[in-house]
């Protein structure tokens, strides 16, 4: 009676799903812990940058322009996140490792001109609690035999 099997087996498999945890991340109360290599917002190190311009030349979207920065001599990169595709070339091909990635992705603003990050703004990276004030904990996924669950990594 394969027809009966095809009618009842799906029901018996699906019914226990109701008792499982929901696999959603309750942002902004929770936030995932991203991988180490995660490509988020950039961070600029003023002391390492020599102003060679490799990042500007290698950027595929022409998002980097070298400008003057306050309090520092020479020219430093300014990144326009309106066109930046977070590809990672500037980080990888910088000869002095002056640009690196953080894990912030909260770029949203009300004014598109605020998306152009000046070198000073690139250099200081706010903590995650300042950017998302409602955040309560960081979670990470882990696999059990039947489902993927989230466990708490740290409280904030």
């Amino acid at each position: 009676m394969s027809l009966l099997k095809k009618l009842f087996k799906p029901f018996l498999i699906v019914a226990p799903y109701v008792l499982r945890n929901s696999q959603t991340v309750a942002y902004p109360d929770e936030r995932l812990v991203f991988a180490e290599r995660f490509r988020g917002r950039h961070k600029l190190h003023f002391d390492r940058c020599i102003g060679c311009g490799t990042c500007a030349r290698v950027c595929p979207d022409n998002s980097i322009v070298l400008v003057e920065a306050e309090g520092h001599e020479g020219k430093y990169p300014q990144i326009d996140y309106g066109t930046c595709s977070l590809c990672g070339y500037c980080v990888e091909f910088c000869p002095k490792a002056a640009l690196e990635f953080t894990d912030l992705v909260e770029f949203s603003t009300r004014d598109a001109s605020e998306l152009v990050y000046s070198p000073e703004r690139l250099a200081e990276v706010p903590s995650i609690k300042e950017v998302v004030p409602r955040l309560k904990r960081r979670i990470e996924p882990y696999l059990t035999k039947t489902e993927m669950k989230y466990r708490k990594v740290e409280d904030l």
Binding site: K9, P10, I13, V14, F34, A35, R39, Y89, L143
Partner: protein, 371 residues
């Protein structure tokens, strides 16, 4: 576009871009009651001019726009372009890099097939339960790829000359754990969804594509393999370590929507086997050879093919000695399958009610066909 004339007694319905289940394209249907007489696909809604964009980018920079052709399997398409560039520049790739490339390509293949499976289940009128479960299972793969490459879908991991980074610490164990988990989940999918009485009623015998027609019309990918033709670029012209890996090419003989779905399903299994092999047997060595950032290629033309989850994609690259390519012509799988889709109305009787099932069994991605 100039539309053909409407015959009397036939109603022309425009299944336009604003339809919930049509995707981002416009399809004109000539309908007589329930039966569809003729399908005219009006593509081009999402044309972005990628081929022209690539003419203004250097080889290294050009990998970024071409990856955005299909969002669920960026790795395979990026690999196609990178293979063409490497052949034009004459670059040797170390073996470890090839194995890592295969692993990432197979992970994206699973990703894309899960997405297609969820969409087809949703097209049969399933409440989006299956689509959400496949989305959750894709999370496992996306987390793995995030650990490896740093991004969830726009990996930008391939470089002319190898890959950007090596495998991180402890990656092999995590990969094996993920593969194990996915194998258990697929057993559940098979029992609950594919062997489901109503799902079979909706998908079996719908839009049968016979073997001769598939070859004559130029189908590709699971559409071709679902009709019994044994063609797969990974076996015919192996690239990136597929020559060393052990896997089967899945074919089914029925040629209907269910057969195409089963091809995708079993291909996921084969991909899992490949990933396991790579995780266990990957050789050591460097992962990239040094290629100048703004390299120039000798004038000439290069053709490279890869097997994306939707079919075979070809990239024809013309170089003229500069830093940018002279012309890039992309032969996308969805465009060829859409041609087959148009002819399906003449080959087999399609009802309007089955249209969503048929479209999603072909698995089009319209950004791929419109480029």
């Amino acid at each position: 576009m100039t539309e053909p004339e409407i015959k009397p007694d036939i109603m022309r319905i425009s299944w336009g871009p604003q339809h919930p289940m049509s995707g981002q394209t416009r399809i004109l249907l000539d309908v007589d009651g329930e039966k569809v007489h003729r399908i005219i696909a009006d593509l081009g809604f999402t044309h972005r001019g990628i081929e022209k964009i690539l003419e203004n980018r250097t080889f290294l920079k050009g990998i970024i726009p071409i990856e955005r052709m299909v969002m669920v399997d960026t790795a395979n398409i990026g690999l196609g372009y990178v293979l063409a560039i490497e052949e034009a520049l004459g670059v040797e790739v170390p073996e470890r890099a090839n194995w890592i490339r295969s692993m990432l390509c197979e992970m994206t293949r699973i990703n894309s097939h899960l997405y297609a499976f969820g969409l087809q289940a949703e097209a049969t009128g399933y409440f989006p339960a299956v689509f959400l479960w496949t989305t959750i299972d894709r999370e496992v793969l996306l987390d793995l790829m995030e650990k490896l490459t740093g991004a969830r879908w726009s990996y930008n991991f391939f470089l002319p000359g190898g890959v950007h980074h090596d495998l991180p610490e402890g990656f092999q164990e995590e990969v094996l754990e993920g593969v194990d988990y996915l194998r258990r989940r697929f057993q559940q999918y098979w029992d609950a969804m594919v062997e489901n009485a109503t799902f079979e009623m909706r998908c079996k015998g719908v839009a049968v594509l016979k073997k001769e027609d598939a070859i004559r019309l130029g189908a590709t990918g699971p559409v071709l393999r679902g009709s019994g033709v044994d063609m797969d670029v990974r076996k015919d012209e192996p690239y990136a370590a597929y020559g060393d890996l052990d896997f089967k090419v899945i074919t089914e003989t029925a040629g209907d929507s269910m057969a195409r779905l089963k091809v995708r399903f079993h291909e996921i299994e084969q991909s899992l086997n490949i990933i396991e092999q790579v995780a266990n047997e990957i050789p050591g060595g460097p992962v990239k050879t040094r290629v100048p950032l703004f390299a120039r290629a000798k004038p000439g033309e290069v053709f490279s093919r890869v097997e994306t989850p939707r079919g075979e994609m070809g990239i024809h690259l013309f170089t003229d000695g500069g830093m940018n390519p002279y012309r890039v012509k992309i032969n996308s799988p969805t465009l060829r399958n859409m041609y087959v889709f148009e002819r399906l109305a003449e080959l087999d009787e399609i009802l309007v009610a089955d249209l969503t099932v048929v479209i999603n069994s072909i698995d089009p991605w319209y950004l791929d066909s419109d480029r």
